[in-house]
């Protein structure tokens, strides 16, 4: 989960505007709901602004609908503060790939349903 106070924002961007779908789900004042949806802009923009303290973002889902990979970014911007990165900087998201992020785990899945991993 990501906990937001009143006025805190989730922001994001990608290489190409309107090519990466996003949905944000969570809990506001004990009510589970879809908090926001749309497509990422090509420069840092607001995806969701919390309207109350104690707002919980339970998951953020991104899907690349473009025909080429996109470099994506997500940030937490505290009200009156500075944006902090939440995922790897300029993270490459392959064609049709999805990202699922819940504040604790970040998973990238390809269009065959396989989780991306790398042995190092």
């Amino acid at each position: 989960m990501l906990a937001l106070d009143n006025g805190d924002k989730i922001q994001g961007d990608t290489t190409t505007a309107s090519k990466v779908d996003y949905t944000i789900d969570g809990v506001v004042s004990s009510a589970i709901g879809q908090l926001a949806d749309g497509q990422l802009p090509s420069s840092t923009g607001d995806l969701y602004t919390s309207g109350a303290d104690g707002t919980v973002v339970a998951s953020i889902t991104l899907v690349n609908t473009n025909t080429s990979a996109e470099s994506i970014n997500l940030y937490l911007l505290p009200s009156g503060g500075t944006a902090r990165r939440l995922i790897p900087k300029d993270m490459s998201l392959g064609v049709n790939y999805m990202v699922s992020y819940d504040g604790k785990r970040l998973i990238v899945m390809d269009d065959s349903g396989r989780i991306r991993m790398k042995a190092v």
Partner: protein, 150 residues
């Protein structure tokens, strides 16, 4: 999760000051909150100080915004006590990489969105190592290590 008493601290450092973003989320009392955010210092410094007993840190995220790898450290320092390491010492965080830690599991993700993992070849054939070293979770059949990487 990481449980903190009043005055306990989360501390951290990295090679280069102001190059690694951090955010800390958790529960104080019964309220979910964003507990702290900022950028790691280059010598051990306070990231968050609990102001009440039974404070819960549910998740801590680091992202390396530098153009070179950073050696990061995180500590839990009990009030009046000694700093104890909570992640590998001088852990290398690659350029752009993120680290997520919830007190139970630590996950490092590279800029291709791949979760980093290590494999050991102790007691395994070379074919097993090769078979397990591509970019995807292998099925049980793949891990029979029959010499083919299918």
């Amino acid at each position: 999760m990481i449980s903190l008493d009043n005055g306990d601290k989360l501390q951290g450092d990295t090679t280069t000051a102001s190059k690694v973003d951090y955010t800390i989320q958790g529960v104080v009392g019964t309220t979910l909150s964003q507990q702290a955010n900022g950028q790691l210092p280059n010598s051990i410094g306070d990231l968050y100080t609990a102001s009440a007993d039974s404070t819960v840190v549910a998740g801590l995220t680091l992202v390396n915004t530098n153009t070179s790898a950073e050696a990061v450290n995180l500590y839990m320092t009990p009030s009046g006590g000694t700093a104890r390491r909570i992640i590998p010492k001088d852990m290398s965080l690659g350029v752009g990489y993120s680290l997520i830690y919830d007190g139970n599991v630590m996950q490092v993700v590279n800029t291709d969105g791949e979760i980093l993992y290590a494999i050991s070849d102790t007691g395994r054939t070379a074919a097993c190592v090769v078979a397990a070293s591509d970019s995807y979770i292998k099925t049980q059949a793949d891990l029979t290590c029959d010499g083919t990487d299918d």
